[in-house]
Amino acid sequence: MKTAVAGKGGSGKTTIAGTLARILAERGFRVVAIDDDSNPNLALTVGVAATAASALPGLPRDLLEQRVDAEGNTRLELSMPAEEFIDRFGLAASKNLTLLVMGQPSHGGSG
């Protein structure tokens, strides 16, 4: 189940996304919570200290590769298996929950 949460700034989407992630993890699902906001705040909501989140290694510039699919559409894909990506860059937030923060300073050039 891949779910994205959208909303105007200040609408409470991060509180809802993070709390939802924690609830699903508490119910026994393996959850990856991804902070895709360039102003990342998800760490606090899932229970990770901001200092721990900002100490994560920056994402490498060659993280994403352009691939052309069968229909000729260009897609950006991870240059490593998703599991490896989660292991290297994810932060254990609570039981069953891993946090990935996309908007780290060295994650440049893909915007």
């Binding site: 909303g7 990856v32 991804i34």
Partner: protein, 132 residues
Amino acid sequence: MTIVDLEAGLEHLSRGTARHVQTLLIVGEPYFKSLETAHRSFTLAQDLGIARVRMVANKVRTPRDEATVREFATRHGLPLAAVVPYDEAVVEADERGVALIEYRPDAPSVEAIRRLADTLLVDTTDHAPAGT
């Protein structure tokens, strides 16, 4: 399971970053500008062909607030998956630098999000108990 907290606003939706998700939750507050944004997000999501789009009403204080959001959702054919009440516990947890669910796990807002989880799990056709 993956939960993605998207960039505020519409940019990631219009660029198709959210294209490969099965479910999009659009969070809106019970006032015009927020619901207007929610409607734009809904339209974009439909263009992207996202399978399941649901509205989540947040910071709802009064029955009139709730009615406003329900009327909006009905008018646009956007299913309302949850109504989350305005909750001081959210502000208090934030002030203390702790997660809301740890600060007050039985807070009304948390209970509403639990019900949201129930709704999403019942709805999905491919959920597996221990899968991602």
